[in-house]
């Protein structure tokens, strides 16, 4: 009779469901793992930071304490953006530039550019280093195929521009949506 059949159908569905629930579980995990893997390059990994005389400079960090620790800049510049409030500022410390962006009443780190070989990244790279050294520090995968190594982590990228197989510029930059 029909009700028994329906009970049977239900049983089948349940089993089907449970089996597929298992499949769902595993696929969920797969998805998560994938996200985690992808994240290595873009979201979860430790962001690259620049440290100068013990002062850590991370992208998007509030800049006030950093400026205080760094002392007076050799030169300073500021820029407005059309129609918007706030100033983009840049500070030059001889061996590197520090750029900031405004948000609310505060300024935050937007970019750091290293300009001479007296300073180096936390991974030990400085201007003039060889291609091999860079690849050792950031992996050959990070090469963009033209002239630079680009390592992304979290909401920032570290760009190392090469000129004749020598490092010519090192730039930390915050990434915005």
């Amino acid at each position: 009779m029909s009700k028994r059949i329906l009970a049977l159908v239900l049983g089948v569905i349940m089993v089907c469901g449970l089996a597929l629930a298992g499949c769902g579980g595993s696929s969920d995990n797969a998805g998560n793992d994938q996200a985690a893997d992808g994240g290595a390059a873009s979201s979860n990994a430790e962001e690259y930071k620049f440290t100068y005389n013990g002062t850590e400079i991370a992208m998007k960090a509030p800049v006030a304490p950093i400026l205080e620790a760094l002392g007076e800049a050799k030169s300073y510049n500021e820029e407005t953006s059309c129609a918007f409030e706030g100033l983009d500022k840049s500070y030059f410390y001889g061996s590197f530039y520090l750029y900031t962006y405004p948000q609310g009443d505060e300024d935050f780190v937007n970019m750091v550019e290293l300009v001479d070989d007296t300073v180096k990244t936390e991974e030990g790279i400085s201007i003039g280093d060889s291609k091999e050294k860079v690849e050792e520090a950031y992996g050959a995968d990070s090469y963009n195929g033209i002239n630079a190594y680009v390592a992304s982590a979290g909401e920032m990228t570290l760009t190392i521009i090469m000129d004749n197989d020598k490092v010519s510029s090192i730039q930390y930059a915050a990434v915005f949506e």
Binding site: M1, S2, K3, L6
Partner: protein, 75 residues
């Protein structure tokens, strides 16, 4: 019929099953009651009411339900 009324009154003593004709539509019987009735009917009359007959028309009054039982008994 008397036995059926007995079953129904056992569930809802406050209802007059002789006259009431909107047992389901009037939300007097809920699905738990209906299933209980089916089990009781099965036990008392040895008539199995299939799921497709569990529709308001068959359960709105004691008469309708009795008619259903008689029809199923014949088949």
């Amino acid at each position: 019929m008397q036995e059926l009324l007995g079953i129904l009154e056992g569930l809802h003593p406050e209802v007059d099953f002789n006259t009431c004709t909107n047992l389901v539509d009037g939300k007097i019987l809920d699905s738990f009651d209906i299933v209980t009735i089916v089990a009781e009917v099965n036990a008392t009359f040895d008539v199995a009411i299939p799921a497709e007959e569990l529709i308001p028309e068959n359960f709105n009054s004691a008469q309708a339900l009795w008619a259903l039982i008689e029809r199923l008994d014949e088949e």
